[in-house]
């Protein structure tokens, strides 16, 4: 049976998101393994498990920033050159980002659910709230950079690489700090969640609207 255009776009987007997710998870565990090896005699299971959340957040954010940017610069161009409509291309970009975010959140959820609570810097809900915020912000930055790279070429890419390094370092430091100081300062906290937890989602929606306006007029330059 033939699939319609959107289904075909989503099918490929799903494959691509799965690949990014798989790479991010593998890299996260690779980093943890590396930390374990360099710990030498100081190794302990608690040390290993407690490193997982920050590693997953750091690698996840970094991967989303890199691939989110590439999605706009190359993936969208290629799909349009293969006869996708702009609407389908935009929906599949959002779908890809959401799949990746949900997948990584699930990993965070599993870590916090199955690891001993005493080893974890925060509760599961707080961890997921923090993680989704970071992932949505990272994906939004990636979309902005994708648009800038399309418009200004490599200069924007170099600026982005610099920003990615700074932001990734900040995220890593931030998550470690949060681990010690509890989550997001309990500002505007409503039933375990804070208003500030929505910053990422609001930014993502806003950037998505801008991105749609961008994709609507995009010229294919494969």
């Amino acid at each position: 049976m033939k699939m319609n255009g959107l289904t075909r776009s989503l099918r490929y987007a799903g494959f691509r998101a799965g690949r990014v997710l798989g790479t991010a998870i593998l890299m996260s565990f690779g980093f943890v393994l590396y930390f374990t090896l360099i710990a030498g005699e100081a190794f302990s299971m608690q040390n290993l498990v407690s490193r997982l959340p920050e590693t997953v957040l750091f690698i996840g954010a970094l991967m989303f920033m890199i691939y989110g940017m590439l999605d706009l610069v190359t993936y969208t161009q290629l799909t349009l050159s293969y006869g996708s409509t702009r609407k389908d291309a935009m929906i599949s970009v959002i779908y890809m980002d959401l799949l990746q975010i949900v997948g990584m959140l699930f990993v965070v959820y599993l870590i916090f659910t199955f690891a001993p609570a005493a080893w974890m810097p925060m509760g599961t809900l707080e961890a997921c709230a923090l993680a989704q915020n970071i992932f949505f912000i990272a994906s939004s930055i990636a979309m902005i950079n994708g648009m800038l790279i399309y418009r200004f070429g490599k200069i924007a890419y170099y600026i982005f690489t610099f920003l990615a390094a700074v932001i990734s370092g900040a995220v890593a430091g931030f998550t470690t700090f949060m681990g010690k100081m509890s989550v997001l300062g309990n500002v505007f906290r409503i039933g375990g969640l804070s208003m500030s937890d929505l910053i990422g989602v609001v930014l993502f929606v806003t950037v998505s609207v801008i991105c749609w306006l961008f994709i609507r007029k995009i010229e294919v330059r494969v």
Partner: protein
């Protein structure tokens, strides 16, 4: 089985008018050759016809349906572009198999058997990155995408660039076989005019963003003649005709003439009349002298 029609198509980049009021009908079941000099607007025209780029003005329809953002129409079209070894971020590191995987997903009538057969026939290494491939290999990828897409109207941009003569012959044979077997329409943009002339049922000459000629190849070549002899004799023989291209060697003169219906050379003059090849006709109509 539908027609691709564009009416009064214009495209402007800043102040530059790239396409200027193009009216064109691509009919089902023909092989078209789109010929124009570098910068004439060929790729721009083809990308607008397939809704890859927006037009500044005018309409494009397939079977009466607008092509822009119309899935139903786009499913019948394939524009296999020239691949670039460089992306905006540097070398294009996407592998051939990734290109083919995407094409397989996006084209609703993709023929996996044909894809595999052509990959084998061309001896392509699908694990190779685009940035590591030769110009000829890149052309092979675009040919595979075009043929295996099985789209009703398939457009190829410079498909034989970089191909050796054997591969080019293979390409023309594949196009003719596919055309005969399926009745698909092909639009082929190329600079290698002479050897492709026998493949094109119709030719479209594009010059400075305008279509200056669209005609059955055979009929066109029948009415194109090269007249040579002493300058005075040639001038007299062609006095009532539109001369498109003139060459002077001493007192001798050669001109290219496109005879309109009912026209013929004036009798009684000592001139030599020879047929004109498609390439020479193109030079006569679109070359530097023609622009002056």
């Amino acid at each position: 089985m539908g027609q691709l029609v564009c009416e009064n198509l214009t495209k402007q980049y800043g102040k530059k008018q790239v396409l200027d009021g193009i009216d064109l009908t691509i009919e089902q079941g023909k092989i078209y050759g789109l010929i124009g000099r570098n910068g004439a607007g060929k790729t721009t025209l083809l990308s607008i016809l397939t809704a890859q780029n927006p037009a500044t003005g005018g309409t494009v329809t397939y079977d009466g349906m607008p092509v822009w953002e119309n899935r139903e129409a786009l499913d019948h079209l394939c524009f296999s572009r020239e691949l670039n070894t460089l992306s905006v971020l540097g070398p294009n590191t996407i592998k051939v198999k990734e290109y083919l995987r995407m094409a397989r997903t996006y084209y609703p009538n993709w023929d996996v058997g044909m894809e595999k057969r052509l990959v084998e026939q061309f001896g392509l290494d699908v694990k190779k990155k685009i940035s590591k491939m030769s110009k000829g290999m890149l052309s092979m990828v675009t040919i595979i995408v075009a043929l295996a897409s099985k789209a009703q109207i398939t457009i190829l941009d410079e498909p034989v660039a970089g191909l050796d003569v054997v591969a080019r012959e293979d390409f023309y044979r594949l196009i003719l076989e596919e055309h005969e077997a399926t009745g698909r329409t092909f639009v082929i943009s190329t600079h290698i005019i002479e050897e492709a002339a026998n493949v094109f049922g119709e030719v479209i000459f594009l010059k400075d963003g305008k279509i200056i000629l669209k005609e059955d190849t055979q009929a066109l070549l029948e009415r194109a003649v090269h007249v040579s002899g002493l300058a005075e004799e040639v001038d007299s023989a062609c006095a009532h005709l539109t001369v498109h291209h003139t060459e002077m060697i001493g007192r001798s003169k050669g001109v290219t003439v496109l005879l309109e219906e009912g026209q013929s050379l004036a009798d009684g003059y000592d001139v030599t009349v020879q047929p004109v090849s498609l390439q020479n006709l193109f030079v006569a109509l679109c070359g530097r002298e023609a622009s002056e």
